[in-house]
């Protein structure tokens, strides 16, 4: 027997363990992409090669500690990862197992106290975790699909084609739903139980993206609050624009004062004229839409919005709030 410890093996294991811990920790805070992770690493002068990161992410996802979402941003697919309930349990266990010195060490390394991780609960710095885990979302999604496609038989394959989550994750969600008594499996097809039907009705109402789109609009400051949730539903540009809006919060100017040919995003519309609002919205003058002033006339503007040119009077332009937004 070799008395000397295998130094290479030891460091590798230490590194691997810490790395997993790090990913789970970060992905528990909020959904992160691979790029986010490698960038975060830079803060600690820690180069992480993609070759190392992605297999690890894949591995953790396969084991069910992470769940992966694909988000289409400007035509590119970005994968986002989020720690699952199981991953959180693992984090908790690790925290409980570790001794004080190790916790101190991790606090320095991660840059946040490792003592008070309120896994699955509230965290500091104004970032409120979504009330639902992604597992919950996937579960609700499955119920949603069952409700939406009432007329057809719902196979596991069909669910997999509808939900962007790994197969193992879906099967776990289905298992839990079965345990909750919301669905039954009949000859390989998913069937709603009486309870399940009631729940579906609730979900279908509750789960419109717009509900959230909405809330964001009214309370820009809490935009990041449910970003995971949004990322789950809204993809690509809309999401990006919402994110941009949140960054620009408070700096928007009335369209009236906006410069010629500058590109902007509409942040808000303020009006007292009743019917006008619907007309504006139905013409694409809507928070989050891009807008550009093409021409100025003595008493109004010609703007380019939703790929169309529309004339807006000065009085109306006062009520449209915009922020500068260079094409990314």
């Amino acid at each position: 027997m070799n008395k000397n410890i295998d130094l290479k093996n030891f460091t590798q294991q230490l590194e691997r363990g810490l790395f997993c811990l790090y990913i789970l920790w970060k992905a528990n805070e909020q959904a992160v992409s691979g790029i986010d992770l490698s960038e975060l690493e830079h803060d600690h002068d820690h180069e992480v090669s993609a070759g190392r990161l992605y297999p690890k992410l894949h591995d953790l996802t396969e084991k069910g500690y992470l769940v992966m979402d694909e988000v289409n941003e400007h035509g590119k697919i970005h994968k986002y990862y989020k720690t699952t309930e199981e991953g959180r349990e693992l984090l908790k266990k690790v925290r409980d197992e570790l001794g004080e010195p190790m916790k101190d060490f991790l606090t320095v390394w991660i840059g946040k106290p490792f003592y008070n991780i309120e896994i699955g609960g509230k965290e500091g710095k104004g970032y409120k975790k979504p009330e639902k885990s992604i597992l919950q979302i996937v579960k609700d999604d499955i119920l949603h699909i069952c409700g939406e496609y009432k007329s057809r038989k719902i196979s596991l394959k069909f669910i997999e084609s509808k939900i962007k989550a790994s197969a193992s994750f879906i099967s776990r969600a289905i298992k839990q739903l079965e345990d909750d008594g919301l669905i039954k499996l009949q000859k390989g097809f998913v069937v709603l139980t009486e309870n399940g039907r009631g729940k579906v009705k609730y979900i279908i109402r509750k789960y419109s993206i717009l509900e959230d789109y909405f809330k964001e609009r009214r309370d820009n400051k809490n935009l990041y609050k449910e970003v995971d949730f949004l990322e789950h539903y809204i993809s690509g540009e809309a999401l990006n624009n919402i994110k941009k809006l949140s960054t620009f919060d408070g700096t928007s100017t009335p369209l009236e004062e906006f410069g010629l040919n500058r590109k902007g995003l509409i942040t808000d519309i303020e009006f007292s004229v009743g019917g006008l609002f619907e007309r504006m919205v139905s013409m694409g003058i809507f928070p989050g839409e891009k807008i550009r002033i093409m021409h100025k006339t003595p008493d109004g503007f010609v703007v380019y919005v939703s790929n169309k040119k529309i004339a807006i009077g000065k009085d109306i332009a006062k009520g449209v709030k915009v922020v500068e937004h260079a094409e990314s």
């Binding site: 509900e211 609002f277 619907e278 939703s306 040119k309 807006i312």
Partner: protein, 636 residues
């Protein structure tokens, strides 16, 4: 035979009428100015043993009750038993089209989406997965190009399957609180309209739907629970558009494209919408129209007149007796119509349609807004007014593009001082020819003054409120090369009423006059009008031509010719020619125009307007000739 009734719905200028044209043949006016269809146009055709009746509706952005277009479309949606609706969607701004789609779906009407302008979208780098759209909304989506006639067959196939209708299953989901309010109101909805739709409309404060509720208080009650939504109508709109944008984005792929071609349009617009050059060019454009009318129209008129007088009339021997005279008089009337009015009217509409279809008109409308606002009118009022320069009849029907009944009637009242081609014929043909070109300019200038004064008085009397500028958010369509076929078809449709209504009137008028003349009644008629002839400073001989001007303006010219012949310049002084011109041109031009206003606004308003404008015309002419005579005496 199976019958289907299908509604065509879409935004203004989205290609509804072009689509209908390629479905049933050229029956519809297609233009590049938003808002050409001001009433529902019906067309029928048999496809594969199924009779399909299409109803083309005015372009709308949403189903609300703000404008006449929206009301007309809304009525078409609910008051006739339709089997479904084709919503024509614009691939360039899909989210906007989807907003309307959602509202139609909310009304539980089976929808087929016809996706137009795919090529234009692709040029802008927008690629749409229409199959995915179909899957998401669970409605058929068919890409079309009415100009190239592609997708038409597929669309017809979709209609024929409409009866085995898929029921509408897609619904826009609102916020929990709003959904609760919808449920609450739904329990109080009466009648056959979909409960959810009525609930939404009432929540959106559309009072037209309050009548469907058993108890109107339910709205207030439901709203009380909506503390999170102090402006629930807004939130519903936003929610709906949010869903539209979300879905549009899901199926859209953006590709980067050079913006070269777009910048040319922007350069043109920079000049046409310039604060100085814009209005100047607008005025120049209309001046050019008049120039062309004057010279080209005048040339056509002279050629026709020459042909008629030189070739037809001398070889015509109707024989003596009453019938002979009547025939000759009738023919004279017909000739007047064909040779005087026709060249002007038709030419005018050809040029006007050219401007409209190219997309220039919408720019002129933007420029006109600034000036028409002085009369509390939106810029687009320039369209009925400009059409009125051709003939008041299509002008009066085009007032429908305005948003309120009040605004429409106000605009129609302005036709009093907008000379139609027949009145222009008096100004050019009688005043200009016998009194000199300068005198014609005097008449035109006086008409401008008369227009402004009358507009101001009517504005005050009718209490027309000034609205925020561009309150209708006018859209500027992309420039397009107009198709000649389209222009000819459209001009013909516009002047059809003139040909079928005005010309018969001219013939009958001619016969009636010769009848009166033969019976010697004209001399008796003159007597009671001595007060008016005194006021206008005119000799008795012009009374009959002046009276006939109320039947049809062209008759005045015809009558004056037949009374005085070429002695007009000898009998009448320049001032009298001027006064005659003013007295015959101010006022609602003719009985046909009155009839049209009657049809549009009811008998009371039509008679009121005709009398008021006639009185105003006489008053103004009398005052004006006294003022102008001072100038003329000095210059002569």
């Amino acid at each position: 035979m199976q019958n289907l009734k299908i509604l065509l719905i879409g935004q203004p200028n989205v290609g509804k009428s072009s689509l209908l044209n390629s479905l049933v043949g050229p029956k519809v006016i297609v233009s590049n100015y938003p808002g050409t269809t001001v009433e529902v146009i019906r067309a029928k055709k048999i496809f594969d043993g199924t009779k399909i009746e299409f109803e083309d509706t005015p372009g709308i952005y949403s189903i609300s009750d703000r404008s006449e277009e929206e009301k007309v479309t809304e009525r078409a949606l609910f008051e006739s038993d339709i089997d479904g609706a084709i919503v024509i969607a614009d691939a360039v701004s899909l989210e906007r089209s989807l907003y309307l789609v959602f509202q139609v779906l909310e009304a539980k009407i089976p929808v087929i989406i016809a996706l137009n302008f795919i090529e234009s979208a692709e040029k802008k780098g927008i690629i749409i997965d229409y199959k995915k759209l179909s899957r998401l909304l669970r409605v058929p989506v068919i890409p079309i190009n009415p100009l190239k006639k592609t997708g038409i067959k597929e669309l017809i196939d979709a209609f024929l399957k409409l009866k085995e209708a898929r029921r509408v299953t897609f619904t826009v989901k609102y916020d929990d609180d709003i959904e609760r309010a919808i449920e609450e109101i739904s329990s109080q909805v009466n009648g056959r309209l979909p409960k959810r739709f009525v609930s939404l409309r009432t929540l959106e404060e559309d009072e037209d739907y309050y009548g469907y509720l058993k108890d109107k208080n339910v709205i207030e009650k439901a709203k009380k629970n909506l503390k999170e939504h102090p402006k629930v109508a807004w939130d519903i709109s936003i929610n709906r558009y949010g869903t539209a944008a979300f879905i549009a984005e899901k199926i859209t792929q953006l590709v980067h494209i050079d913006e070269e071609s777009k910048s040319l349009e922007d350069k043109v617009d920079r000049i046409l919408l310039h604060r100085v050059w814009g209005p100047v060019l607008t005025v120049i454009a209309f001046a050019i129209i008049f120039g062309i009318l004057l010279y080209l129209g005048g040339w056509i008129e002279e050629t026709l007149m020459g042909f008629v007088e030189g070739t037809i009339l001398p070889n015509l021997d109707p024989g003596g007796g009453f019938f002979g005279m009547a025939l000759k008089a009738g023919l004279t009337g017909l000739m007047a119509g064909v040779s005087i009015a026709l060249p002007y009217v038709f030419l005018f509409y050809v040029i006007f349609t050219l401007i409209e279809d190219s997309g220039l008109l919408s720019r002129f409308v933007i420029n006109a807004e600034r000036f028409l606002r002085k009369l509390s009118l939106p810029g687009k009022a320039i369209i009925p007014l400009a059409l009125g320069l051709g003939c008041t009849v299509p002008g009066a029907s085009a007032t429908r593009i305005l948003s309120s009944e009040k605004e429409r009637f106000y605009t129609a009242s302005l036709f009093t001082a907008v000379p139609c081609s027949s009145r222009l014929a008096i100004i050019m043909g009688i005043v200009g020819h016998f009194g000199g070109k300068l005198l014609a300019v005097y008449v035109l200038a006086s008409l401008v003054v008369a227009f402004l004064i009358f507009g101001y008085i009517m504005k005050k009397v009718m209490r027309i409120e000034k609205k925020p500028i561009f309150h209708e958010l006018p859209e500027l369509p992309t420039y397009r090369a107009p198709s000649i076929k389209n222009i000819i078809t459209k001009s013909w449709i516009r002047m059809k009423s003139f040909v079928y209504v005005v010309i018969p009137f001219l013939i009958i008028g001619g016969i009636v006059y010769s009848g009166l003349d033969v019976l010697g009644i004209t001399k008796v008629v003159v007597k009671p009008f001595s007060l008016i002839t005194w006021w206008l400073g005119l000799p008795d001989v012009v009374v009959v031509p002046w009276l006939f001007s109320y039947l049809q303006k062209d008759l005045s010219s015809v009558m004056l010719f037949s009374v005085l012949g070429s002695r007009i310049a000898e009998v009448l002084t320049p001032i009298q020619i001027y006064t005659f011109g003013m007295a015959t041109t101010l006022g609602i031009p003719c009985m046909i125009a009155t009839g049209m206003i009657w049809k549009e606004f009811g008998a009371k308003k039509a008679i009121f307007l005709t009398l008021v404008s006639a009185a105003y015309g006489l008053l103004f002419a009398g005052v004006a000739f006294r003022i102008v005579s001072i100038f003329l005496n000095r210059s002569i």
